[in-house]
Symmetry: C2
Subunit: 394 residues, 2 copies
DNA sequence: CATCTTAGTTCAGAGGCGAAAACAAGCACC
DNA sequence: GGTGCTTGTTTTCGCCTCTGAACTAAGATG
């Protein structure tokens, strides 16, 4: 029952400005005339507001297009160089830092390898801060031009300014990554779970584009999901919503590395798939998985069934318009098995919600986590295109 | 990415009016002074707005309270007789119609029994329409005073004006109940799933009060859930979100009446519990269940475990602040077994989200479905306290 | 070059909010 | 009882935002 409370007449301007900017951003080059139609605002308002935005250099002109018989339309677009966003992917084996312009074109990136078992928080923080400096100088961008730094990490991120992280598999329990980073930078920081940032990327720029109720699942070493309700990522009361990988699909079943039994991840996480297939990994999981898939072992069919059960539970519970399967395992499975995955999902879900859902593969590849992290910055920019706050994403 | 688009200066007034009215409604008798603090609005705005509301008779004075040394505060409250709401519960065995004032005090009610297997939509519609007439005349309320009719039904309700219902267990597939009712009344109609209306009732007036991220589960013949995110009931793209009963907790497990296997309902639905305990029902399920619970059969412990698994999946996926267990089976189980249910849930969920959740019993009893249905009308009234629309709830 | 068409800008007016001044209604103390 | 103090409520006034309508801009057409 916590409802938003709006107030003054000034909020209208801010809100409408955000509406206009979003329309401009997602419709590409657009004339003022189109914008009145798209936003529902009057021509007068669009005129004054675009004048403001042009004056602030947030928006720039982008050519003209003649209209039959009358004055040609002037096209406008968001200035992709008005500002930049840093996106960071903290994963089990590496830290990747990317610099993106406002169109989310990657301008520079840098990777730091992590020794698989050692994840000293200080070291990770140093890598990130160093990475930011590197990508800025590589791209010739000054820190003042950067609107913020988004960071995608494994595990659960507490809401709050310190960006406190709990990631059992990572060996982090209560690491205040946000606070560590703030010692080295004054830029706005947004820390969020990596599955969520990936989901955000697929939702805004990938296969989920345009959906307002969607689930983006991440299949990799871990298994997670981003649940999007009415255009907003669903976080729950302590930002840990979407822990799909540890929902139980076989009560009392296979043991999971989380300590529980029968978790979805204990069936379709990469380690579980290889284990069920009796493969002792040679070190390259992608290759191992490819071999299992080629083997026509019954394990493949079982995996599809388990995944279908997991997806069906999401269909029943969330009733999404779209399910996007991402993560490298997800894409590798999906490429050959998508029809079977759809069948298995249909077999385990109710007819009405299943009929409303389309199941598709993600299309952003492994950089989606960093891109999505940068998107946190973009989102803030589009919502309040001048007042950037220095907080962790909650 | 579907964001609300706001526009003119007039929307502010409407929005602030709703904020004020909500504050007034949920804080009981309150002075204008308190309202400025509660709503964040200026004293000036509160003053003019309350003057309007008093003039329209939506708000009335409710005594005074002296303040140490100064002018006494005049208390205001929503006029409980400004309007009335009808709430209807369409269940497997009966149709219940209740008339509520704005404080949700029941002023009259009437029941119609349904022969268990026969659910002619026309008959149900006739019962509802007749029931409305009966409760109005019993309470001496004229139709003009009624703000709307809320109806809670089993199954999935399509979004849209016709209130089309799909309820397999009820024998309804595509029944346009809303359209049937509109032939007999011109009052605003809100049709929604009964588990959701019950959830709404517990959220607003029962154990869920004050929570903004919550799940209200309904355990009865069927098993369902209402997921509340940020104060709003989560419906999904085709309004069927929350079909928790048919999520799978044992892939390939017990057959369920939905046609699937391993559904939660196939373990903790009342028929499943009795079946697993080997009880052939004597007709009174409540008594049967009481006997099973008293028997200390291992089935009891198993039931707790399965319920815990189902709840744990909600904890992991939704990360709610509160889980309310409702429905008659839920309450009967919970009364003696709540600590065990909590333990089973903890054992099957991740530590962080579990720590953020409290699991409690519902406290509204069997009338919650009708009350919640009436609450749909109340909600509309609080959001737009003069313009009532004639549509089905989507 | 006059006219038509479409795009974009300017202006006046209405409605809304908040700060502060004004007003109201008690209490305390002389 | 009068005077000042305290607190609650209303009124006044200035500022902000939006919109409709009039107006300007810029091209096409014949």
């Amino acid at each position: 029952m916590a409802r938003p409370q709006r107030r003054t007449v000034r909020d209208i301007r801010r809100g409408n400005r955000a509406v206009l900017l979003r329309a401009l951003y997602f419709s590409g080059p657009t004339s003022r005339n189109d914008l009145t139609a798209r936003t529902g605002l009057s021509a007068a308002t669009v005129s004054t507001m675009t004048a403001d935005l042009l004056g602030e250099n947030i928006v720039v002109e982008a050519g003209q297009v003649e209209s039959d018989g009358g004055r040609p339309r002037v096209l406008l677009r968001v200035n992709p160089e008005y500002g930049f966003a840093v996106g960071v992917d903290v994963a089990e084996t590496h830290v990747r830092v990317g610099l993106f312009d406002l169109e989310m074109t990657e301008r520079a990136k840098v990777d730091y390898m992590l020794r698989p078992a050692r994840h000293d928080p200080e070291l990770v923080a140093r890598h990130i801060l160093a990475g930011v400096e590197v990508v800025l100088s590589d791209a010739g961008v000054s820190p003042e031009q950067v609107l913020g730094i988004g960071v995608g990490v494994p595990g659960i991120v507490e809401p709050g300014a310190d960006g406190v992280i709990h990631a059992k598999t990572f060996g982090w329990d209560g690491v205040p990554l946000g606070a560590l980073l703030r010692r080295g930078t004054s830029l706005p920081l947004y820390v969020d779970n990596g599955a969520k940032t990936m989901g955000q990327a697929e939702l805004w720029f990938g296969s989920g584009r345009g959906a307002s109720d969607a689930v983006i699942v991440l299949l990799g070493v871990g298994v997670g999901a981003t649940i999007v309700a009415d255009g907003t990522t669903f976080r729950g009361v302590s930002s840990s919503a979407g822990e799909w990988g540890h929902t139980k699909i076989v009560a009392g079943g296979r043991p999971c590395r989380c300590g529980g039994r029968g978790c979805l991840e204990a069936y379709i996480g990469i380690e579980a798939i290889l284990d069920r297939a009796g493969v002792t990994s040679g070190g390259d999981w992608e290759e191992d998985l490819a071999r299992v898939l080629a083997s026509k072992s019954p394990v493949v069919e079982e995996t599809v069934t388990y995944l279908g059960v997991g997806l069906a539970n999401l269909v029943n519970l969330v009733n999404p318009e779209k399910i996007v399967i991402g993560g490298w395992v997800g894409v590798q499975l999906g490429e050959s098995l998508l029809p079977g995955i759809r069948r298995a999902t249909a077999a385990n879900s109710l007819a009405e919600p299943y009929a409303a859902t389309s199941i598709v593969l993600g299309r952003l590849g492994p950089d989606a986590v960093a891109l999505g992290a940068a998107t946190l910055v973009l989102e803030e920019f589009l919502n309040a295109p001048q007042v950037a706050r220095i907080t962790a994403a909650g």
